[in-house]
Symmetry: C2
Subunit: 297 residues, 2 copies
């Protein structure tokens, strides 16, 4: 916050020179089903509130992914209220043009923290992609405002987002990586070179993530379990929050048979690097290296 | 079969010299829920029958893991009957001493293929581990007889077997790798340095497999999806069968915080190698390398 609001504070010829990386605030994708009670340990929401400015933060909730946005919005107003926040607004969008409306922009502009709820990723894309609201979210994040999303709201934070692939017609429970099982669509782009999947272990989504991965081996796949999140700072450092584990797959050195397979055939992807991280572990997304464990951690 | 029954056929000074690796037949762990119909494509059971000697094979079914061994045994007699086999016997064991009985041994000795059904791994261990039946299965496999197992029957084929870990008390759906979540017990040992888990993607068992793995980084973890199997020949070459994918995790270069964590805490395991293989792909368990894809496969 303070960094974003007082850029002159640390101004120097070097600091004010143009840099490639856009200054940006923290990004926090959450794997869904995050613990909402006030007295929870390792609370993801408490960390979100802290990064949004604590008790004085102004939160904007975006419930657009939900089938019942009204209900979802009010649920999070209550949740944040119990955490002591009384300045929580819900962005109401009934149709896509509303996301270009000045009133909607103002709701985003007031926020010191933005929270995107879960639901249907396709609804999020169709309502928000390419709108002024999306641009405003990017700008606010570039200025230092934290943007968090849970479940579908987590996936849309990255540059690329998975759609589909939660089962093959006629074969329920199929969890293999199959060609053309998923589509990649553009997300908000707050995290580059990353694909995020959520409810990861709970819904057996390794196959789905690998499918996207096979045709995009330069990306990093991040699988978030429920009640588990990562917060990525503007240096590209990822930290695990919550109570579960985060699965990180780096495919830079991998090989797949993607181009030889036909649609729906099972893919093979070998020589990926796999990192599974528990709470408070860190991973550098730029260097693609886990931060070494301390021996007396 | 012919190799095992006619060792003199290819006898030569070199072939008859003592070798470190015990001569052994194929081992086929199956991830559960294998397709049983006769006209299925990529049928795992057809491959089992072929390796057992085709239509003339004599199959022994071991239904000990099942809650209702009588029913499970008869089910597979019917299944194999539909595949044209009329020489299928079921090993009946009511209590552990039966597994030391000469009659039980004879049922194993007659077999040209041994098939272990699914159910409860703990029941398999308590009824069979250290018995003459187990020794006889090892001997027959060493002589060239194929041994297959599905679900719990797959896990027991390896030297080490996971028990427990399908959920933490009070937290259903938890799928993280947690210390002391699983126990390792000794399996039949037909595959060395390997842990096999089954129903792998369908039940989100990556965490469970990694838990065992964190404290045993020298092992290879093999996760078998449903209707998916591997057959391992005596040269240590693994081939994927069926319709799903096989997940192979090699932890030789991995690091974990196993020794720093307390029981039930989430583990971190970084720098594992991950290989996901579709049908007909091969992997060399000795060199721990996937067989390169052919460009015109």
């Amino acid at each position: 916050m303070s960094d974003a609001e007082h850029p002159s504070k640390s101004a120097s010829p070097i600091a004010s020179a143009p840099v490639r990386r856009v200054r940006q605030g923290p990004v926090m994708p959450i794997g869904g089903a995050e613990e909402k009670s006030v007295d929870a340990n390792d609370s993801i929401l408490e960390r979100f509130i802290e990064l949004a400015g604590g008790k004085k933060s102004r939160i904007t909730v975006i419930p657009t992914a939900s089938e019942d946005p009204e209900e979802a919005g009010q649920r999070y107003v209550k949740v944040f209220g119990k955490h002591g926040l009384d300045n929580v607004e819900v962005l109401h969008l009934e149709q896509r043009p509303d996301a270009n409306d000045q009133k909607s922009i103002e709701v985003i502009e007031r926020a010191t923290g933005i929270f995107i709820t879960g639901g249907d990723q396709a609804r999020l894309v169709s309502m928000l992609s390419g709108t002024r609201v999306m641009e405003c979210i990017r700008e606010r994040n570039a200025e230092g405002v934290i943007v968090a999303g849970t479940s579908a709201g987590a996936s849309i934070l990255a540059a690329h987002m998975l759609v589909g692939g939660t089962g093959i017609a006629g074969k329920s429970g199929d969890a293999s990586a199959r060609k053309a099982m998923v589509e990649l669509v553009a997300g908000f782009g707050l995290l580059q070179d990353v694909i995020i999947d959520q409810h990861f272990s709970q819904r057996g989504r390794m196959g789905r993530l690998l499918t996207a991965f096979a045709s995009n081996p330069g990306l990093i796949g991040i699988g978030l379990d429920e009640d588990t999140a990562v917060v990525v700072d503007r240096g590209g450092m990822l930290e695990v929050l919550g109570t579960g584990m985060v699965t990180i797959i780096d495919g830079r050195n991998s090989m797949s048979d993607y181009f030889e397979r036909n649609p729906r055939e099972v893919l093979s992807i070998v020589n990926s690097s796999l990192h599974v991280l528990g709470p408070s572990r860190k991973f550098n997304l730029d260097s693609r290296q886990p931060i070494p464990f301390e021996t007396n951690a």
